[in-house]
């Protein structure tokens, strides 16, 4: 197990370095001269521009700047300063990240707490009226753009009923609508996954075996079927959690929550390329770490996978198949 973790970390580090190189390089091609953006509107003499360029270190060769950037990010967690207002991007990221994380954590908790019992219910009452209603609702929610859902929720609960604040951040109250808007769509797909996984497991032989022992139906479902059904679901939870970092972007903009996503969107709209680079690299770091933790957790709960990694004997076929539980959102998981 230890070797496996080590191996995964060893793969992760070059990937993250590559990510940073690519993002930095790409952002070098963002339209607009960063020097002009940093100087702001108004007329500037060529000498002023040149002085600023040297002050920003942009006169140096690209590779040197890239090297410095990598050193800054990986050794000092330093992402440079904003072109527009010169603030430290590290400070921005660190102060904003808790808000993004709150939305993502609340969303995933909401998804799991509602999605698993609902999915199990639907599987146990497959094709009943309740199951069908839930299925139709999940289909509709799944197809709903989250930003539209956010607007509708805001319209109803904040602007019409005045139950909850419409924008801003602060106490838990401010996060209720963003959490709902961020998770309802994903919750729908998640519920369907739990249902499908549960149905599949319920039909496997060992559930029949358990039933033949004369134990109660409750024990058959919750003691035997559910733990097995949750194994592929765990990967899904990790991926949803990671995806919520992306989804939170739109939500943060709508609800004016100062998070990473809002920083990123503002950065793109202001052509503040250093902020954009920093934001994207930071999200990639977080996202990759979440994915790694997901895979490790997955290996921990499934004794078969755990044994595989322990002995480093790969039964690639079985693994591939199990990872397929991740469904169409789960391409990521196929590579372990």
């Amino acid at each position: 197990m230890g070797r496996y973790v080590l191996k995964r970390l060893l793969i992760l580090i070059p990937t993250l370095i590559a990510v940073t190189i690519i993002v930095f390089t790409l952002m070098n091609f963002v339209p607009g001269d960063p020097v002009m953006i940093a100087l702001g509107s108004g007329t500037h003499t060529p000498a002023e521009v040149e002085a600023k360029r040297i002050a920003m270190g942009l006169d140096r060769p690209f590779l040197v700047r890239l090297g410095e950037y990598l050193k800054g990010v990986f050794f000092h967690f330093d992402f440079g300063t904003s072109l527009i207002d010169g603030t430290s991007i590290q400070y921005q990221l660190v102060t904003r990240f808790p808000n993004t994380l709150k939305i993502a954590i609340y969303s995933i908790i909401f998804t799991v707490v509602i999605g698993i019992p609902l999915g199990v219910f639907c599987a146990q009452h497959a094709n009943s009226v309740g199951d069908r209603i839930a299925l139709i609702m999940t289909l509709v929610l799944d197809s709903m753009p989250s930003f539209w859902l956010a607007l509708l929720l805001m319209l109803l609960f904040a602007l019409q009923l005045h139950w909850l604040p419409s924008t801003g951040s602060g106490s838990f109250k401010y996060f209720i609508l963003p959490t709902l808007a961020n998770s309802l769509g994903g919750l729908a797909g998640f519920t369907r996954q739990v249902r499908a996984s549960m149905l599949e497991v319920t039909r496997s032989d060992f559930v029949t075996t358990a039933r033949s022992k004369g134990i109660s139906e409750r024990k058959v479902v919750y003691g035997h079927a559910l733990p097995n059904a949750l194994i592929p679901i765990l990967t899904l939870v990790g991926m949803r959690f990671g995806g919520m970092l992306g989804g939170a972007t739109v939500i943060e903009v709508i609800f004016s929550i100062p998070g990473i996503g809002q920083l990123l969107v503002n950065g793109i709209n202001n052509r503040d390329s250093t902020v954009v680079t920093g934001g994207i690299v930071f999200i990639a770091l977080t996202f990759s770490l979440i994915m790694l933790l997901t895979d490790l957790a997955y290996a921990l709960v499934d004794p078969r996978i755990k044994a595989q990694y322990a002995t480093q004997k790969k039964k690639s076929g079985e693994e591939e198949k199990r990872h397929h539980g991740g469904h169409h959102h789960g391409k990521r998981a196929e590579e372990a």
Partner: protein, 292 residues
């Protein structure tokens, strides 16, 4: 008659396109999805002819007006007819959704096929490369490309297309690996069937079906993502009547004129739902174990 049809379908190879299509036409929700998609495409193409108002013409007197017999779905802040704009705007969602998925599918399938078929070093290099793509949530990746390319329909298509390559590549690679290890391919190899024939005769027909599901899902996902990007001001810009862009401008007026925001959203919902229904149906047809 129906009996004859049934046997005809059963005689087709499960997984072949013809088989999927026939079964699709027997699935109510898929037929609903296909009908809605076809209807929206036709209405969008015909919208300059059938709509009473041009999608660009402004009418200050009717600004913000709600649905009425004059303007069935009301007007926006500049007095433009929302129905005309929404119908005309359907084409953007479809063009962006379909073209970006096409780009992703072509490049992704090629990469996945190369990686899966050649294996070894080629495979690991390509997969490590895709790992980089997979280090971002899809929307963030698309936003990054939007930041580089700038705004506009073509750039939005490109950004979404590139962002989706890795999904197709991985799917294709996994399929090829799976099929390569199947006994019937081994059997074909063992009787001396040439590699080319194995690929065209066994590997591709069996890999194509999951790809179709992914394409249907990709169109809905990219349609949704394009409206998200436009909503954030990163994809298609106002005054283009792209649904996300319409919602973006309507957002400021949501307190007093919610119809402006609700209507484009409903159209996004219906379109995405239709593609999801089609994709779900195709998946059920291809993977009968999921059905009860």
């Amino acid at each position: 008659m129906s009996k004859k049809n049934a046997t005809e379908i059963n005689s087709l190879k499960p997984g072949s396109l013809k088989y999927v299509w026939r079964k699709l036409l027997k699935n109510k929700s898929a037929v609903f999805g296909l009908t809605v998609v076809a209807l929206l495409i036709i209405l969008s193409l015909l919208s300059p002819l059938i709509c009473r108002y041009d999608y660009r013409s402004m009418d200050a007197l009717n600004a913000y007006s709600g649905p009425s017999s004059e303007h069935l779905l009301g007007c926006d802040e500049l007095g433009r007819d929302i129905l005309s704009r929404v119908l005309y705007g359907a084409r953007y969602t479809f063009i962006i959704g379909i073209l970006s998925t096409a780009i992703a599918a072509v490049l992704g399938i090629a990469m996945g096929a190369v990686a899966g078929y050649f294996g070894g070093k080629v495979d690991s290099i390509l997969m490590r490369f895709l790992d980089i793509f997979q280090s971002f949530p899809m929307l963030i990746l698309a936003m990054a490309f939007c930041a580089v390319f700038g705004t506009g329909i073509d750039k939005c298509i490109l950004a979404l297309g590139i962002s989706n390559i890795s999904g197709f590549a991985r799917l294709m690679r996994a399929n090829i690996l799976r099929i390569r290890n199947m006994e019937y391919v081994e059997a074909a190899t063992s009787i001396g069937c040439p590699t080319r024939k194995i690929i065209t005769g066994h590997v591709i027909p069996n890999a194509i079906s999951p790809i179709i599901v992914e394409i249907a899902m990709g169109i809905s996902r990219n349609g949704l993502a394009s409206s998200s990007l436009s909503f954030l001001g990163l994809g298609v810009q106002q005054p283009t009547p792209e649904w996300g862009a319409m919602l973006s401008s309507a957002r400021s007026y949501i307190r007093y004129y919610p119809h402006m925001a609700i209507i484009p959203g409903i159209f996004i919902l219906i379109t995405v739902l239709s593609f999801n229904l089609i994709g779900d149906a195709v998946r059920d047809i291809l993977d009968p174990t999921l059905k009860e």
